[in-house]
């Protein structure tokens, strides 16, 4: 079983689209393969995340563009520049699996981006407390050295010069 086919089966299993025979075979594999169980859990978790996202709205003009694309496909068919004919059942299963996988992957990326955007703090501005820093530094220097020469500068007006 190839990678893509395996993904198809996982998705189809979660969607309840496998035949009883296929379902039994897949569950037998799950029982024997810890990696397969882990992958199933991962995919199920991503689906849960994706279903929690708000539905996207169609951008303006999207439907018109889609119709125009369909017209172009029709024109290509008329000129004979078309893809070879496949078995409809096989193509439908494979396409739906691939599309579903791509949708999940894209949605997962969007979810990650959303989480990162929410988790990242907005860049704030900082006002360094220079006068406090100077005093604290000097007091610390005095604590580890001579207290008179360390602290005496702090008894002068603190002026910030060039």
């Amino acid at each position: 079983m190839s990678e893509l086919e395996h993904d198809d089966v996982v998705s189809a299993y979660l969607d309840g689209e496998l035949t009883p025979v296929e379902r039994a075979a897949f569950e037998a594999r799950l029982a024997a393969d810890a990696d397969a169980r882990a992958e199933l859990d991962d995919v199920a978790e991503v689906r849960t995340l994706v279903r929690g996202l708000p539905l996207p709205s169609m951008p303006a003009g999207f439907v018109d563009e889609l119709l125009a694309t369909g017209t172009a496909d029709d024109a290509a068919a008329e000129t004979g520049d078309v893809a070879p004919v496949l078995d409809l059942g096989t193509a439908q299963t494979r396409r739906s699996g691939r599309a579903r996988f791509a949708a999940y992957a894209g949605a997962a990326a969007a979810a990650v981006a959303l989480v990162v955007a929410v988790a990242m703090p907005a860049q704030t501005s900082a006002k360094p407390a220079l006068a406090t820093d100077v005093r604290v530094h000097q007091a610390g220097a005095a604590a580890s050295g001579d207290p008179v020469s360390g602290l005496a500068p702090l008894a002068t007006p603190l002026r910030f010069g060039r």
């Binding site: 900082a126 360094p128 406090t132 100077v134 001579d146 020469s149 005496a152 010069g161």
Partner: protein, 326 residues
């Protein structure tokens, strides 16, 4: 039997000598120069005197000077008429809003030996405030960086002069008048430590550089308001690096500084009586370095702070030796 007992005794004593020789010795790290400095610190806490010190610091327009009254009493210090109080390493400053705690940790940071990086000379010093002194000259690369004059009788510092890269005086403190020196009595009444006092950290942050510049090692860390302060020492000079989250608000900076470039980074620099102040931003954080070290040392410190590799290396070292400051 006596021979056996003698041999056992000799073996035991020999073992003690061998084990002791293998242990790090505090005395081995303490040079005569370190002893002079340690004695000076202790002398202030064990004597009472009153006098005036003349403080000087260099700015772009030349040296500025100020006389400050100093009184050592009850084991502590009162400066500027009592507005600045020191006791056992702790320090408080009285402002318009009341007392502020500048330092609350009584544990003196373990700075490296003066001789770890510098060459020192000890000799006869000048008379300061009519008292004979012992001089300590600290050099690096044949260049004098600092001179001390210790009271020959009691050991406290009567004069301290610091020099810059160009050999000119950058900071100075000297007693210009000193009264009778007595033994300390009593204990100092100190202001109460408020909740806003700097809070020493038991362990430094994991991303803190353990060494910066030329021989500056991390000797302490504490929280100061919204900032983290990392304290470094090379045995003579100190550098504090304060960090806080956020990009620097330049409009909030005091006027009077100058923008300088350090390895392509724009740094606002100020000269104050308390040292040179450098403030800049990097990767969404604001840094402020306060130090009495020379401009050359400052460049080396900032260069190492900007080094990612060093930071990662030090972070790994921290993880692998979580109970060591070095």
């Amino acid at each position: 039997m006596r021979r056996v007992r003698t041999l056992a005794c000799a073996w035991a004593m020999g073992s003690v000598v061998v084990v002791a020789a293998g242990l790090p010795s505090q005395a081995a790290d303490t040079s005569p120069a370190d002893t002079l400095l340690d004695r000076a610190r202790a002398a202030v806490a064990t004597h009472e005197f009153a006098g005036t010190v003349r403080v000087g610091w260099r700015t772009a327009s030349g040296m500025e000077w100020k006389n400050v009254p100093v009184r050592a009493v009850d084991g502590g210090l009162r400066l500027a008429g009592g507005d600045l109080v020191e006791d056992d390493g702790r320090a408080w400053l009285r402002g318009r809003a009341g007392w502020a705690t500048l330092w609350s940790d009584t544990r003196a940071p373990e700075a490296p030996s003066v001789t770890a990086k510098y060459h020192v000379r000890i000799g006869k010093g000048p008379h300061v405030a009519d008292r004979p002194t012992r001089a300590l000259t600290i050099e690096r690369g044949g260049h004098v960086v600092e001179r001390y004059a210790f009271d020959r009788a009691e050991g406290f510092v009567l004069r301290r002069v610091r020099y810059g890269d160009d050999g000119r005086v950058t900071a100075s403190m000297s007693f210009v008048q000193l009264g009778e020196v007595l033994d300390a009595r009593g204990s100092l009444q100190t202001p109460r430590v408020g909740g806003s006092a700097p809070q020493p950290m038991d362990r430094p942050p994991s991303d803190a550089h353990r060494r910066v510049g030329a021989g500056f090692v991390l000797v302490g860390a504490q929280r100061v308001g919204e900032e983290t302060q990392l304290q470094y020492s090379d045995g003579v000079f100190t550098a504090s690096v304060f960090t806080r989250d956020g990009v620097i608000d330049r409009d909030a900076l005091p006027t009077g500084g100058a923008d300088v470039k350090f390895d392509g980074v724009t740094v606002r620099r100020y000269r104050t009586a308390g040292g040179t102040v450098l403030t800049w931003e990097s990767r969404g954080r604001t840094y402020t370095c306060v130090t009495d070290a020379s401009d050359t040392e400052q460049r080396a410190i900032l260069a190492s702070l900007g080094s990612d590799d060093d930071g990662w290396t030090e972070a790994v070292r921290f993880v692998t030796s979580p109970f060591s400051w070095f």
